[in-house]
Amino acid sequence: MAHAAPVAAGMADCREAWVKTLIEVAEADPRVVCVVNDSVGSSKLNAFQKQFPDRLINVGIAEQLMVGVGAGLANGGKVPFVSAASCFLTSRSLEQVKADVAYANFNVKLVGQSSGIAYGELGATHHSIEDFAWLRPLTTITTIVPADPWETAEAVKWAAAHEGPVYLRLSRMPVPNLDVPDRKFQPGKAEVVRQGDDVTIIACGTTVHLAVQAADALKAEGIAARVLNFSTINPLDEAALHAAAATGAIVTVEEAGVRGGLGGAVSEFTAANTPVPVEKVGFPGFLPTGSTEWLFKEFGLSPEGIADAARRALARKKG
């Protein structure tokens, strides 16, 4: 595929954790099956297919069918993981996601691969930066955006055991495991990665480790920034948002469009409950041509960009 970016030391492609964990849950639970749209390789499912050839259902390049088949497999007692590039999974088959999965409330796990702008220079058709906005109103779907390999593995295990629709938004961008002691995966609960009371940086997915670096830079300026790994987009952790608002300034960071995404969700909540300045880091709309790495830096998804946003939020802070 387009990107075979070298993986730096300490960084890992979360898809490795995804498939390793999926094989583990499939070994333990014969109901677990996978549905793909000719996306075996890009979903890193070759090892799963080798071990469970009958349990890998490749419907061909047919995303509407793929999601409908997932719902049908759930009706027939299976636990289907429907895995495809998130740009196609969440847009081509959005009506199936709405009617067949969310509204029918089937036990289907939608797994969006190579989400956000993983396909960089392939352009906006292959970017998946609208998916939060499309899925957030589908309130029956639990949406989880793992920040690192550890959380990816935990989320896959949780999704397999959970009865109900789930959207797992995975990336192929190498990220480090977050340095948090005594971690426990709790869907629906934001994870405090850095303590701080001057400003709260709310990040998800591939951007959390960048937010940590931003917080470390701000600390050198005497600014104590809280960093939240906000891996569950739906349902929102309202208690964490109340606490974030209490710091008086918020920054949101996401590898997604700022309209209707994590920043939109946080803004909706705080505007209605505890108005507070919110600076959003993310993408404004269709993006120009460029690699994933270039686009991240160009649009401020970097330690420097996030720290700048925190300074802007602090400048707007009352009192």
Binding site: V33, D54, R55, I57, V59, G60, A62, Q64, L65, V67, G68, V69, G70, A71, G72, L73, A74, N75, G76, G77, K78, P80, E95, Q96, A99, D100, Y103, A104, N105, F106
Partner: protein, 271 residues
């Protein structure tokens, strides 16, 4: 007596379903009676002559599945499910009333006996394919029947489903096409022609059978036949509005609502 005469039983249930569906639509001032009536005999045959189910155990893993892909035909679906014992008949008058479990399109979370939520066209068939694949994987004995409208065949998702079904040889799957030749506004052949539908499905790897969709004996023979070596497509030639003289083959009865005189006239004819 009826138990010994399956065709008479189906005819009796179909008559009750038509009267019931039209009463529901008349009362609700909404519905899709034309498509209810073209599908009624097919559904009565499935529920009272073909399918294996236990209305007291709607989640029984080995039940045969019926998926109403033309989800607007809830007059036919709800009357069939009530007749089959899935819920009490006295729920039927709540059809489309505020907070009724009998929504305009079916919701499996509201009512027992509904396999999936349909309404937008082209959804039921792919879900039925998934159900059939699940049965194929586990070696389950259940069969899956999905009913689509004929205009609904214009949705591309059906052809994705048709292609995969043929490829996987889903012999436990039966697709029934309610071939009344009318869609909402006009004829299917005037809109985006479907013919030759039989050749299309054969080319996609299906066994194709044509049948008079209002002849219970013929429907019983076709729908009750043992699986072959391919998925089975039953093209049921039907009449939209079947059973009421002024509705038959009139496209506007797709979602027409009868006034009191029309309702009385229909009840006189449906005997």
């Amino acid at each position: 007596m009826l138990k010994n005469d399956p065709v008479a039983l189906i005819r009796e249930k179909a008559l009750w379903m038509r009267r019931t569906a039209f009463t529901m639509v008349h009362r609700a001032r909404a519905g899709h009676p034309g498509g209810d009536f073209s599908a009624t005999d097919i559904m009565a045959t499935l529920y009272f002559g073909v399918m294996k189910y236990d209305a007291k155990r709607p989640d029984w893993a080995d039940r045969d599945r019926f998926i109403m892909s033309k989800g607007h035909a809830t007059g036919a679906l709800y009357s069939a499910l009530a007749a089959a014992g899935y819920f009490p008949e006295d729920w039927l008058p709540t059809y489309m009333q505020p907070r009724s479990l009998l929504n305009g399109h079916p919701n499996r979370n509201y009512l027992p006996g509904i396999e999936t939520n349909t309404g937008p066209l082209g959804h039921g068939f792919p879900v039925a394919v998934g159900i059939a694949i699940a049965g194929q994987l586990t070696g389950a004995s259940y069969r899956t029947y999905v009913l689509t409208g004929d205009g609904e065949q214009q949705e591309g998702s059906n052809w994705e489903a048709a292609m995969l079904s043929g490829h996987r040889k889903l012999v436990n799957l039966t697709l029934i096409i309610d071939r009344n030749r009318l869609q909402q506004g006009t004829g299917t052949e005037e809109t985006s022609g479907l013919d030759p539908l039989d050749e299309k499905y054969r080319a996609f790897g299906w066994e194709v059978v044509e049948v008079d969709g209002h002849d219970p004996a013929a429907l019983l023979a076709v729908l009750g036949a043992a699986p072959g070596d391919k998925p089975r497509c039953v093209i049921a030639n039907t009449v939209k509005g079947k059973g009421v003289s002024f509705m038959e083959n009139v496209a506007s009865w797709h979602h027409g609502v009868p006034n009191d005189d029309q309702y009385a006239q229909a009840m006189k004819e449906l005997v």
